[in-house]
């Protein structure tokens, strides 16, 4: 079914994985890191990607760790979306994971895979952006801890051979009031015309979007526009649209006009929902 063959490597440690990548790269094998793997298989099936070696990260203990300790939630990059939903440590992330593909696929897709894959929507990223997650990266011989807004700024800034080991979220974010909605053109299970996630943190709303531009984003300017006091919702929305970080997507999943219409109506709904939230201003 995959129209070419490749070799399969399953390292037990981060060091082995990094070394395998380096050696395979040097040998001209075009290695790719493999986590859930569903996107890699479906892309390979239609010859959209090519590799001679996959490095499966799922046997590396640090990549499968999943614990909520006194201070923070630690999620390995190879933790599946369904494991995240079942544990429900971070309800906003549970919501986001529950709307990616379908439930059976969520048992295979991993958090790292959703964020590092080539499919542009990366909807699991929104709660991580809103909670200012830290990201542990395996880079060369060492591990680096990097704020998510540095490693992801409209695109993932991972160097060749690096991979994400863990995401870490401070506990204070896990229980903040939140809003999450995914709008699709027709079917419930589809790519988004718009996914909007929001949290209410000390009376201030933070927003993150997928399906609106060619990349998911969270924007301080848009948050500031939304949080202005004494401005009607229509005027705030108008100002937010002026701050969009790129052109609005215009494709088979929704024209640009349709996506903007969905954005406006969703933000008006958000306004109503916020009135019902605890500690809302």
């Amino acid at each position: 079914m995959i129209p070419f063959t490749f070799d399969y490597y399953r390292p037990d440690t981060i060091t082995e994985a990094v070394r395998a990548y380096k050696e395979l790269e040097g040998a001209g094998r075009f290695p790719i890191y493999y986590s859930g793997g569903s996107e890699i298989i479906s892309m390979a099936r239609v010859n959209n990607i090519h590799t001679k070696a996959v490095i499966d990260l799922k046997a590396i203990p640090e990549c499968t760790v999943f614990e909520n300790n006194a201070n923070e939630l630690v999620m390995g990059s190879a933790v599946t979306l369904s494991a995240i939903s079942e544990a429900n440590y971070y309800p906003l992330l549970t919501k986001a994971c529950g709307r990616i593909a379908d439930h059976t696929m969520q048992c295979k897709i991993t958090l790292g895979g959703n964020i590092c894959g080539t499919i542009r929507y990366k909807e699991a990223l929104l709660p991580l952006l809103l909670s200012d997650a830290s990201v542990i990266i395996a880079s060369g011989n060492k591990l680096a801890t990097i704020p998510i807004h540095e490693i992801y700024n409209h695109r993932l800034n991972l160097k060749k051979g690096d991979f994400i080991v863990q995401f870490i979220i401070k506990n204070k974010y896990l229980s903040l009031p939140y809003f999450h909605i995914k709008k699709t053109k027709n079917e419930k299970i589809d790519y988004p015309a718009l996914t909007l996630a929001a949290i209410l943190d000390e009376g201030r709303v933070r927003l993150a979007f997928s399906g609106l531009c060619a990349f998911p984003f969270q924007s301080p300017k848009i948050d500031t526009a939304w949080n202005q006091e004494g401005l009607a919702a229509d005027a705030k929305i108008h100002e937010m649209i002026n701050h969009l970080p790129g052109p609005v997507l215009n494709d088979v999943y929704g024209s640009d006009t349709y996506r903007l219409f969905v954005l406006k109506t969703t933000l008006l709904n958000l306004e109503k929902e916020l009135e019902k939230m605890p500690c809302s201003n």
């Binding site: 079914m1 995959i2 070419f4 063959t5 490749f6 070799d7 399969y8 490597y9 399953r10 390292p11 037990d12 082995e16 395998a20 793997g37 569903s38 298989i41 479906s42 390979a44 099936r45 996959v54 499966d56 799922k58 046997a59 369904s82 529950g98 593909a101 379908d102 439930h103 059976t104 696929m105 048992c107 295979k108 419930k188 299970i189």
Partner: protein, 155 residues
């Protein structure tokens, strides 16, 4: 580090038995189950993760075997429809007319079986979430809903 370079024999645990298979690392689990082990209950449909006809259980959780490498399944418990022996959901499908042509049925049965084991008290919302992973071209949806409801304690 486990390595699979070129064609090799590996051992899979399928329906509780150790089975040797000769695979290329790029072989998907679905074709290995069907072509090498003769376990043809998991069906090829879309081969793209959309239809659910190929669903099997990996350590008790439903997975679409068209989007899993056979190599990945090493060290895990694989359950196919052939491994269900008079499970309550099989009887419930018969009693509720949960199929017509039957092509999607093994996939639906595996999802329902897993759901009943993991969430025996699932509510309507959870049942719908899980079952949306599968497509029935004959549209037996209502009957399938009755079948799963009949074995879920809270329904």
């Amino acid at each position: 580090m486990f390595k699979l370079e070129g064609k090799n024999v590996i051992t899979l645990t399928v329906n509780g038995e150790k089975r040797d298979v000769a695979i290329e690392p790029a072989d998907i689990l679905l074709t290995v189950l069907r072509d090498q082990l003769g376990l043809t209950g998991a069906k090829p449909g879309c081969l793209n993760g959309d239809c659910g006809a190929c669903t099997v259980l990996i350590d008790g959780w439903p997975v679409k075997s068209c989007l899993m490498l056979a190599a990945e399944a090493m060290g895990h418990q694989i359950t196919t429809i052939e491994g269900l022996k008079n499970a309550p959901i099989q009887k419930a499908f018969v009693e509720n007319w949960g199929f017509q042509c039957g092509y999607c049925t093994s996939g639906f049965l595996m999802v329902c079986h897993s759901l009943a084991a993991i969430h025996p008290d699932a509510d309507e919302y959870v049942m719908e979430e899980w079952l949306q992973s599968n497509i029935c071209r004959c549209t037996s949806y209502e009957e399938i809903r009755h079948a799963i409801r009949s074995i879920i304690t809270s329904a």
